[in-house]
Symmetry: C2
Subunit: 141 residues, 2 copies
DNA sequence: ATTAATTCGCAAATGTCTTGCATATTGTAT
DNA sequence: ATACAATATGCAAGACATTTGCGAATTAAT
């Protein structure tokens, strides 16, 4: 399990630092929510780095293979990614405004132990999402 | 939130009972894991009901709109569906053999209360998946 | 049996994501 | 600085799930 999504970490492992890689890494470090290929592609264009979508896909594939990112399946249309560093948190997805908040509380310890004991299932990673209505949207309605 | 995925329930609400609907409902009642459009399409063909994929998609859409099914995003390639009746359980997805097991233990009560209290987020539904290695695959390796 | 509403099949299209291949770029050794 | 090997990039083409329009077929109730 590879954490530490930084340029120096990548360099240390002998990976090349390209413009795209530099920016994508930066975006994931700052991101407070999972990002999709489309979002990254648009963001890159915005900062004047017009890169091909294929390259974005390959970069995501690369960072995922290297263990820096994990896939998150929040919606059926496209795959989102987030830094492995953030893996032990959960998402609050507002179905009204689409906002994504995080819960860092790492629960489920008991349940996980149960699962291993009763089922013999070894958990490598988990995905916990809550779908509902955020505070702001609740107020408005 | 509509439960009770049965033909009588559908009839009572004035929906037509077609051959496809009948079989699809039956398959979801018996299913012990989430099903995809492709799986249903193949299963229907197997029992001699060669139906168009579009129809399968529309049937899933229909049953979801009516609240009988929920979408489950287990993998990036396609959407799975399961009966709303089963919503309060979680999935164990073996990344080696692909088998999907269930945990009916409904945890997360505490965390959910936390989330409502601290964030004001009202949870409508949740999705909890554990990815790892099932007992059988553990043994083999 | 007639009819209105719904469903179905077919064809076409959308959008995400993948792949092959030729070219360009990066890091390193010289 | 230069040349080389490995890797990254762009472009075109394609795979696949999913959606939509429309005319034909089926369902349920009169």
């Amino acid at each position: 399990m590879n954490s530490d999504l930084t340029l120096s970490s990548l360099r240390d492992k002998g990976h090349k630092i390209t413009n795209v890689r530099k920016e994508v890494v930066g975006m994931f470090s700052q991101a407070d929510k999972p990002l999709t290929a489309q979002e990254l592609h648009k963001a890159l264009k915005t900062i004047g780095l017009s890169v091909n979508k294929t390259t974005v896909y390959r970069e995501l594939q690369f960072l995922t293979d290297q263990g820096y990112l994990v896939e998150v399946h929040l919606n059926p249309k496209e795959t989102s990614y987030e830094s492995t560093d953030l893996m032990h948190h959960h998402h609050l997805i507002c179905e009204t405004c689409g906002k994504i908040d995080n819960v860092t509380n790492c629960l489920a310890k008991e349940l996980e132990e149960d699962v291993l004991k009763k089922k013999g299932f070894e958990i490598a990673r988990r995905s916990l999402e809550f779908y509902g209505t955020c505070a702001d949207c609740s107020k408005k309605s």
